[in-house]
């Protein structure tokens, strides 16, 4: 879509923004080193030629079996320039802390909470670091690939209904 954005980013952060490629549909994608993500985001937002002003959609992926295991993905948008870029940040299982970008965009708040809730990735510096969907007593992070599909953790005991199959069971289809 706009190679200028990628070039500016790679030129500004050599080594920290690496391996740019053009994904399906012409999306620009860049890998970013974990420790520099906040600086990269601030640059994207504040550089007058880039202006990624809209709070990005942040999500995470669990590539179980690969190293590094996790990935946090930032889908950034500029409403004034109309361009987009996707930042992929590799997160090893041994160090699940990614610098928060809530200081850059307030709107990243709930997306980062979602990543903590569902994948167990921490965001040091986040102003309200709680689970988003699950309750505080919940153990584990449900969207991890090693969390069972039918894992159940009811807060109150469930009634026994004979014709209903209930977990916990292995992930996979019945």
């Amino acid at each position: 879509m706009s190679q200028a954005v990628v070039q500016a980013l790679v030129a500004r952060f050599p080594g920290d923004a690496y391996d740019p490629y053009v994904g399906p549909g012409g999306d620009d994608v860049v890998f970013v080193r974990k420790d520099r993500i906040a600086e990269v985001c601030r640059f994207l937002k504040e550089d007058p030629a880039l202006q990624f002003n809209l709070a990005p959609y942040v999500t995470a992926v669990d590539y179980l079996g690969q190293e590094p295991r996790f990935e946090v993905v930032y889908n950034c948008t500029s409403t004034s320039r109309g361009h987009r870029i996707r930042l992929r940040v590799k997160v090893p299982e041994s160090d699940l802390a990614v610098p928060t970008v809530t200081g850059v965009w307030r709107g990243a708040d709930w997306f980062e909470r979602y990543c903590w809730d569902m994948y167990g990735i921490r965001f040091p510096g986040h102003p309200d670091h709680r689970r988003l969907f699950m309750y505080d007593e919940f153990v584990g992070h449900p969207l991890r690939k090693d969390y069972p599909l039918r894992g159940r953790q009811p807060l109150t005991p469930e009634r026994d209904v004979p014709d209903l199959i209930r977990g916990p069971g292995p992930a996979g289809r019945d």
Binding site: G23, P24, G25, D27, N53, L54, A55, P56, Y57, T59, V61, D62, V73, N75, T77, T79, G82, R84, R86, W105, R106, G107, A108, D109, W110, F111, M118, R131, L132, F133, M134, Y135, P142, L143, Y147, L149, A171, G172, R173
Partner: protein, 415 residues
Amino acid sequence: MSTHTPDAPAPRPPPAPLGSQALDAPLDSREMIINLGPSHPATHGTCRLVTRLDGEFIRGMRVDIGFLHRGFEKSCEAVTWGQVFPYTDRLNYVSSTMNNVGFALAVEKLCKLQVPDRAQYLRVIAAELHRICDHLTMVGAMGLELGAMTAFLYAIEARDLMWDRMTELCGARLTSNYVRVGGVARDLPEGWVEKTLATLDRTAELRDTIGALLTRNRIFMDRTRGVAAVSRADAVDWGYTGPCLRASGEPYDVRKAAPYLVYDRLDFDVPVGTRGDNFDRYLMRMEEMVQSDRIVRQCFQGMEPGDIAVRDFRYVMPPKPQVYGTIEGLMAHFKLVMEGIQVPAGEAYGYTEAANGELGFYLVSDGEGRPYKIGLRAPGWPMVASMPAVLKDALLADLVPTFDTFNMIGGEVEQ
């Protein structure tokens, strides 16, 4: 000479005259915590709002969501790509086809599929009809929340007419499942275009009635103008999209900024507000209904007969005579049902303009028949997240109407 005895009470001094200062002096009050929800009828689903009140003013708020969380993403990772569609219907259940369209476009982005012209028109028609439904619901419910029950009844009548047309199109009234990867499920029924045009006429009448009841209504204006105003910079910083972003003055619409389907061939305007308050957010919806009406009518004129899906049986179910009559058709059907569409390995982010804003699907495929990851960017998410900041020092009575203009849909926000 005094008639008072020493132990009688002294006469009370006359009260001080009531000046405006005395009238406006704040009462000493204690802050209290009021819990709204999770199953409060005005929260449209299950959303818990814990408010810290000073008298009637909201001094702090905490939004607690997740009571309707059904594990959308986890469930989708366990089924084939085609089987995800019924799950997407239940995200924004007022405008389900728009979720179908968003998901189908994201998968097609990954598959590098180009769907036929007619299918694109049909998708736009279904999506825009549902946009009208969504806005009608929001406008009607907003009137209801401010005490105008009548407007709600008109809105629901118009919405049900729309849903009747959707039923004829795809067989379901609420969870309309019309779009497939590679096209749409079926072509328009006989006489549907004429019926839909009549429905659009009737809906326009009802919409104008609602507008006449609300837009210049003194009570409605007093209760909505200047309430919960969000500045343009704040709206962008919070990540607002859709009508809420445009109400704040940022003219961003995915249909114009990155046109998908046939939106670049259609002539429509994007309304933009100035103050970003509840009234502007209401006006955005009213005007977008007019524009959607225009879009559907243009589609009826612009579309031509043709295929409604790609003729590639790796993605689309073959027609039934081929399934029953030829071995190739039977095999293609079997592979699609049992193994699912073989989406090439990779990742993509597909985004469309749904009724409440940008609906995004971040998809990761490992080359198998089931999604490796489906990330959902629900349009209402950033708006609900910003509520504590937007409603700080607002009146408690304005909480519910504001909640309504953000149009929180539990199905999509809580996944």
